[in-house]
Homo-oligomer: 340 residues x 2
Amino acid sequence: MTEENERILLAHGGGGRLMAELIAKTIAPTIYGDKPQNLTDAASVDIDGKEILFTTDSFVVQPLFFPAGDIGKLAVCGTVNDLAVCGAKPQTLSLALIIEEGFAVAALEKILHSIGTTARQAGVAIVTGDTKVVEKGAADGIFINTTGIGPRRRNTRLGFDCIEPGDVILINGTLGDHGMTIMSKRQELAIQSPLQSDCACLHEIIGLLLDALGPKVKFMRDPTRGGLAATLNEITQSCGCGIEIEEKKIPVDPAVKAAADILGFDILNIANEGKFVAVVAADAEKQALDVLRSHPLGRKAARIGVVGPKQPHSLVELITRIGGRRIIGMPYGRELPRIC
Amino acid sequence: MTEENERILLAHGGGGRLMAELIAKTIAPTIYGDKPQNLTDAASVDIDGKEILFTTDSFVVQPLFFPAGDIGKLAVCGTVNDLAVCGAKPQTLSLALIIEEGFAVAALEKILHSIGTTARQAGVAIVTGDTKVVEKGAADGIFINTTGIGPRRRNTRLGFDCIEPGDVILINGTLGDHGMTIMSKRQELAIQSPLQSDCACLHEIIGLLLDALGPKVKFMRDPTRGGLAATLNEITQSCGCGIEIEEKKIPVDPAVKAAADILGFDILNIANEGKFVAVVAADAEKQALDVLRSHPLGRKAARIGVVGPKQPHSLVELITRIGGRRIIGMPYGRELPRIC
């Protein structure tokens, strides 16, 4: 039971352990009653015999504008990516704005311009919307919700249950860029920071991978809030297999690494907005990496680990640079509020 | 061009003239560039040859709990109704929460319980969600976005272009209940206010009407923000016909009327959350009213007016109780912030 004075903490929105608990113990049982539901990034919906995927995300990032992106670009890419990693062809978005009274119309136009441009480039249509305004002090500038739908791509079969021991774990590039860009900007890191968000729409590179490998791609997820650590822990918990990753194989930009070290963050917990983890059949590893590296968003693609045997209490383990082993836990969620 | 120091006002979210201008002059052209789009409550989307309707709404109502409803019930009913009035069978919702740090978990549970109960009663499934938490002071308790999809019902043909001179305008019951309940609560009206929100899901009564009348129902809209005045003005502007309504035919609860008089509001501008306007072929009026009155949400259904001839600068005119004529303009939007 909920304690009478229990309160929502920032960490409840951090994409880590506390958020998983809030969803599992409060949100899902209260909404669904005794009919448990499998909540994924994008839900499969049957409309008169036609399967479509459906996903929603609200964006509350602060600051609203950051190197290589803004809340508008993020709002389109985030929902496009949630559809793409679930095997959908992103097609249509809704757009809902909550704006604080007094917000500059020029800033709104800049954000809307970003939304329009990103959507056109991604080939998705924004077809319906909603605008609410709240009093000064009742919101922080602007919050954006995008909800997306698209048909499932043919010849794909993705899911935790497809993952088998021996499958390899790939990433399409460097980790931590988005999160560390936001944190550097927020902390006003004195260094002339060259950091840039990796915020990008991944449907195209994911499309190439699925076209080439079909069902040999077993599972994909974009490691946003909670970072790679949260994504890999969700995989082990859901498929029952352990995961082993190698620190030296994980691509990280040196400037991002430096910023993380200065600010005391673990790159594995940091949000990404232009990355996806793919679990792929071992015999398709080379082909997958070739396909990924052929695309601008996959130049630094790498195999970072492998799926281990099925076992109770399966863990994510990191082989460190010096050959040690470290258990990578589910992050708590407090590290990076309002990163997306 | 936007003035450099132009700011968003509360009235930009009020569902009236200022909001229409913001959408027409800023949001639509910035997002769509030179490809103008017809923005309706629910957009029609073709997914591989299957037509579905798609709609989004954010809810920022204050207070969160009010007589006969709360933000959770409102969030489900609002999106169900937007689908239903566009001729869809509401099927599936997404749910996105933005919660302020420090929000009571018990209040969250109460809201989620409302969401779950209302969705089950309406027969819609909540299949995907998102939870964000922002710092104390960066939001006002909780904001909720619901986005909904559903297939278009067969044997319906709805749209501004279906409306013809001579069609009659029906409403399923009393006007102003939701808005005046919220305002009374907010103003802490000293009277022992018996007001109750009309917040309800309308898909069932709308289904009965469409099953009975088919394409003789020409157009429907739920008069939420901006009230009946905004809805009728949108109709005249979009179909090019004038509208004449009769004050004495408009059902209003006496307590709601009293509260509106005390607080200085015009009932026609007040938001409703369990009402819909239907434009119906004249020869189907009696049948339509019989169907509406057979349902608990339509007991006080009434014919309130008629569509006039096509003319330039068409207007909404009210015939007052004493037989005078008054032009009903599009409300500006300032009257009722955060009503839904």
